[in-house]
Symmetry: C2
Subunit: 377 residues, 2 copies
């Protein structure tokens, strides 16, 4: 345990900003990308390898962990940090999103949500208070309020109902979190779908409650990127500058670049690991599909400029072979390469912001993605 939660902005460049979050498990440089460790593991990647990519913080999923191995068991085992051998910062979500997307027979009422496990059909209940309790016993450095997230497109009435419920749950979550050990933080989640008025109402009400950080939820759930960016342009100015802003579940490298340009500080997404398991690499030349036969005889590494050894020490031909042969090492290497690229992108954005050249950086980065990856003639 090193410090209580705190956030400092070190530099701004337009709406973009770089800074640092202090947590009981070390600092988190922002803009930050959080690899997703759903079941207490970033899929296929050793914790020291996750750290070596440059990650300061990972995300854990309350829904998955409460079902298996179970929150109280995890607490008896010393909490999530010890369990997954990750001594750095951890943010846990509240479980709400997964209850909506994975659980069966879910039933929402004003007090909480009852659902059946997707693993064994057993019945469980999450309330704002229980979600906070679970995250507290897991030992999360940053906990999230329970919310209800609506998949877009959706009816305005449904979005409004979920947003108001999430506001009520935010208040209860905050009260419940008063008993948490000192130094930890609880973030609120702005909802409101693609409706500007609902987003504004949600943001302003949450800011009035005074949270230590603000997430924007309910985006990247089916809407076009332009809609997501419009919502950010609308919501971010309503949030206090001195608190971190977290865009949940986002996204592609371009999504992240565009969101940082609009003042977002934190991200999480399964794309680097999920796509890595499916043979797709993220690189400074855009996405590269290693399944493609053009790589079969290519002795070049995926990215000779990478800071990630996995991107430099193995040929495209080898990665292609591993993917085609369905070898586990292909998933391991490509997940590592993708996490490495995401962290390299975050570091480059932090440097560009600090140097006051973020717009130039964004332009040249986007141009290189668009130019794409080429095989030798």
């Amino acid at each position: 345990m090193t410090a209580a939660f705190a956030f400092a902005v070190h530099a701004t460049d337009g709406a973009a900003r770089s800074g640092e979050i202090a947590t009981p498990h070390g600092p988190v440089r922002t803009p930050a990308f959080m690899p997703v460790g759903t079941q207490a593991t970033v899929k296929g990647v050793l914790p020291e390898a996750v750290r070596a990519t440059g990650a300061d913080i990972v995300l854990g999923n309350t829904y998955h962990l409460m079902l298996r191995p179970g929150a109280e068991r995890l607490a008896r085992l010393g909490g999530l940090h010890a369990f997954m051998n990750w001594p750095h910062a951890i943010l846990t979500d509240s479980g709400g999103f997964q209850v909506m997307s994975l659980a069966t027979l879910r039933k929402i009422d004003a007090d909480g949500v009852t659902f059946r496990s997707h693993l064994d059909g057993s019945s469980h209940r999450l309330t704002p208070e229980r979600a906070v309790e679970i995250q507290t016993v897991l030992g999360a450095d940053i906990a999230m309020q329970l919310d209800e997230c609506v998949r877009l497109p959706a009816e305005r009435d449904d979005i409004a109902r979920a947003m108001h419920l999430s506001l009520a749950w935010a208040e209860r979550s905050k009260r419940a979190f008063e008993g948490a050990p000192p130094g930890r933080a609880l973030f609120a989640i702005v909802q409101g779908g693609d409706d500007p008025a609902l987003r504004e109402q949600s943001a302003c009400a949450l800011v009035d409650m005074d949270f230590q950080g603000y997430a924007i939820g309910g985006l990247a759930v089916g809407e076009p990127q332009a809609v997501m960016l419009r919502m950010l342009e609308m919501v971010v100015p309503l949030l206090p500058a001195e608190r971190p802003r977290y865009l949940m579940g986002v996204g592609t490298p371009d999504d992240i670049l565009q969101a940082v340009a609009r003042g977002i500080d934190m991200f999480d997404c399964v794309l680097p690991t999920r796509n890595g398991r499916h043979g797709l690499a993220f690189t400074r030349s855009g996405p590269v599909n290693l399944k493609n036969a053009r790589h079969a005889d290519d002795p070049r590494p995926l990215d000779p400029e990478s800071v990630c050894a996995a991107a430099r020490d193995y040929s495209r031909a080898y990665l292609h072979h591993l993917v085609k042969a369905n070898e586990m090492l292909g998933a391991v290497l490509l997940s590592t390469i993708n996490l490495g690229y995401y962290q390299e992108l975050m570091a480059a954005m932090r440097n560009a912001i600090a140097a006051g050249r973020f717009a130039d950086f964004a332009e040249s980065t986007t141009a290189r993605w668009r130019a794409g990856d080429r095989s030798p003639a």
Copy 2:
């Protein structure tokens, strides 16, 4: 490239011996265990992690590699060492064993074997000369002659026919290998099933041909351990003391201990990685099934005395969780732990032989395996 192939025995203790094989890609301490890298990867384990377990040499499979990515493609890509990012020694088998166990529609004649790929049904042919050629272009430090291996139990006539065919192929392999780059070695394979007279005939004929090393094939293919050990006791004394002896495809830790006691220097086996993928750990307290519910709340590491970080840094509860959740990291960690245990066992045997206390070591090691693994009361 560091040295030409050579073998030196440094110490003997009964029939057991410790020593070192020099190869163009570095020394191999014996008795040696070779992790199996079937498709140019030790399944799920990064090459630097394989090395960190203490492996000096890995095994590559000619059959798999000739089908995918293809021998000549691999040669154009710089050979197997560069392809799989393993700069240390490599032994390749000749493909014969996998043709018999994996290929379909195989047809053996005096000249070689024609078969269809288990991947796509394409037709291929291996002759003694082609098997040597493939292993040569792959860049193997140690190549194996093409042989025919018969699964036991089998009719004596069938064993005899295969043994004689393997002898003829040994001679042709040796001639073909004369064109190989200097410094590399070709090993012969003693066949003869569980028939002492056939084993003797095979061994003596091969020794007359003068190979740089001698493998014993056709064991651990269905017969009881006692039969295998009897064959070793019979064959090993017929082999020249100054050449390495390699027991192919063996085995459990106990198989290896018993074979070292009978003068074997080299081993390969898929057990550490295959069992690791299925939730089974090899430890100094014998095999431990991490699927077992008794581990669910156990905060102890698998083996606090291990030299392998993976066996020390993760609780049994965590490994149990990963295995139950079918998480890739479970396979990665348990494969690494098992390779680490195998290498730790080999190192301990080398030390015991050098110290002249191999019998004591074997007894105490076996006693500890038999005592088994216990959970706290």
